[in-house]
Symmetry: C2
Subunit: 417 residues, 2 copies
């Protein structure tokens, strides 16, 4: 069978599984998730050996890449508990979004339904296999998984164990399918939509993957791109909150998309805010790159180049600029930001209201760390990532974001005049 | 200036206008809509002459095409009253969608925001110029309009009159821009996204236009495709409702996407339902094409070919098939339908519940005509079309569907552990 035929056949099987899964009761989906958790928990030795062998075979991979690939017992704990968490979440399918009536007696109800077939294309983290399968399946979707070639064996094993959970619960195992060839053409076929076999593509990985997906996809894409997040310390900022929120936004974890990359400070507060904030950042191990105002004030700070303000460091580096009050902050963010997550620190409610209204980002915060940009922190229980597009989902993608809706109209014989 | 540069410049101007429009008060947007209505109302003679000249110059156009192109006083009435209607609708921007709190004291609010820059690509109907500009602008979006080359002068004149409304209300006139060249490459540039200048493309027109848009677009698309809609007369259908809903679904207007194309009848009710339903359809001037069961029962019906059940006639023709109860109807719709709009006629609540849950269409109805698939009938006041994709918007696209959302998080100094 050619790869083209094989992939299209996958799409057909996924479509059939999705039709059945859309009507599968919550209890049955939860049983599958718990059975998958047990299957993975019971196969730890096999998984760790497979993963260790794959890492040993791998060549020319960076230490960071291997770290992402590597599974250990703690990461397996995370995978198993993640499955149990998703089993405990409310099922979004069938949930009423809104309802209304019309003068002609027609009654409208908008309810959540699964999207259908979702292709998830990811890279080095084998745990994405299970996280994505669990969330997509719980929301009633069939999923086609395409993992990175370096960890394809580990990912395939995890997918196979997940499928035993489906089988135990009496769910069509084609609800989760794994592309077992490293052939890059398989990605192209998924992006073509497989002749109607794929409704949505979710890329999880580096910029080059996401760019390829956005350039080639003939179906809808939920992309996860840059998080060039800002913290703005306003004229009316509280000093203690300013230092704590800045350090946390930058340094809690520097490699996440919700990490702050640029600090903006009201010019009139530079003299009193800068020393304690800079001190707290330095103590936390953060490298600073300042604009002319910052460098004039503090000789120890390296000068920022213009491109620093457009750089997502994902590292303990922070660019800092002085701005003319909240207007200057809003302008800087409009010009340099990525519309992901931005925070204002101020005690002035009116200034906060303006920032929250005028900054056009998926997530805007007042007196809180940008690192709250996370599905778990939103109360979603689990997420598949943070969508940076403007349509369908914006911000954390949890169960509800993996559904669409339909409108049910109930009448008593109405015809349209 | 090259076309490429010109179009990119349009995107930049649209982006700037969108930033301002996102924060423009409702009253100002409404003032612009009413001023545009006045401007168009006051330029009737000029518009009708421009339109008549353009139709006179046109060559090799079908009568149907010219009918879509043609403006008269009644159609101008519709355009003017449409603007007033949109001015009277609630502004979706800033509307709260949901709110919740977390144990750490963070308060979340999800509010509607404009999408940004929307490109609308349409064909022969010049009124789309005004309808699309009005809805997009009221929802806070800048819009780039690209009309069909045959009616480009009429459409450009309408766009120019709309812009005088914007100017009178003090809104950046680049909130509405019209592509004044018939060069098809302009469409390709819009579909490229103009280097970040376009957030969403909405194609309004025939299948070849929509297909080109879906194939080439590098940005999100809200497509409007086939409406292969079904009416199913169930075992427990009321005879009178069955006849009235079937005739209305098919014959009220045959050229709209919500018109029924196929009638399904429970095999056990054929003998008593068929004669009165067929009679009512024949009286309304409908041509019938039946499957073997129908043709055996009624010699006057022409036999349907298999492809009839996959054809959107948009004409007074109806294909008819007998099915084995609601299961057969659901299977037939899953195989042949376009997931647009489908209706069941039954007095059995449980059967209705199954049909409404299991038919995976944007709009599903119980005891009501498929011709209610219309934004006006939903109570939206106005719509830009019926989206047939599964994401973002599904069904009528009104003001709310032309927005996205952001999440506002209010804290008191929270950092993430």
């Amino acid at each position: 069978m050619t790869l083209d035929r094989k992939m299209h056949r996958m799409g057909e099987k996924a479509r059939a599984a999705a039709h059945a899964l859309a009507l599968t009761p919550t209890s049955q989906k939860n049983a599958a998730l718990l059975a998958a958790a047990n299957a993975i928990d019971g196969a730890r030795a096999e998984i760790l050996k497979c993963n260790a062998d794959e890492i040993a075979e791998a060549k020319d991979l960076s230490a960071a890449f291997i770290d992402r690939m590597k599974l250990d017992n703690a990461r397996l704990d995370g995978i198993v508990s993640g499955l149990k968490t998703v089993a405990g979440l409310d099922d979004p399918v069938g949930k009423e979004i809104s309802s209304w009536a019309r003068p002609n007696g027609l009654h409208f109800t908008r309810v959540r339904t699964p999207i259908g077939v979702i292709a998830v294309i990811y890279e080095s983290r084998p745990n994405v296999t299970v996280d994505a399968a669990a969330l997509a399946m719980k929301a009633g979707n069939a999923v086609i998984l395409r993992g990175g070639s370096e960890c394809i064996k580990t990912a395939e094993l995890l997918a196979r164990l997940f499928k035993t959970g489906l089988q135990e619960a009496g769910i069509d195992e084609n609800a989760v399918q794994f592309v077992d060839t490293p052939d890059r053409e398989a990605v192209g076929l998924l992006l073509s939509g497989l002749g109607g076999g794929v409704d949505l593509v979710i890329p999880r990985g580096g910029k080059s993957l996401v760019k390829r997906v956005q350039d080639e996809a003939r179906v809808a894409v939920l992309a996860h791109l840059d998080g060039l997040c800002h913290v703005y310390l306003d004229h009316d900022a509280d000093l203690e909150k300013a230092a704590a929120i800045t350090v946390n936004s930058k340094m809690r974890r520097t490699g996440v998309c919700g990490a702050a990359e640029t600090l903006l400070i009201d010019r009139e507060r530079l003299v009193d805010l800068w020393p304690p904030v800079a001190d707290a950042l330095a103590k936390a191990g953060c490298e600073l790159r300042g604009d002319d105002y910052i460098c004039a004030l503090d000789e120890s700070v390296a000068p920022a180049r213009e491109e620093d303000f457009d750089t997502e460091y994902l590292a303990p580096i922070l660019s800092v600029a002085a701005v003319d009050n909240v207007d200057g902050a809003i302008r800087h963010i409009a010009r340099h930001g990525s519309a992901h997550t931005d925070s204002i620190v101020t005690e002035n409610e009116e200034t906060a209201r303006r920032f929250l209204a005028e900054v056009d980002s998926a997530i805007v915060l007042h007196n809180a760390s940008t690192q709250f940009a996370d599905g778990g922190e939103f109360g979603f229980g689990a997420e598949i990532g943070i969508a940076t597009g403007r349509l369908h989902a914006r911000g954390p993608v949890g169960l509800e974001e993996l559904t669409t809706f339909k409108t049910i109209i109930r009448g008593s014989g109405q015809t349209r005049p």
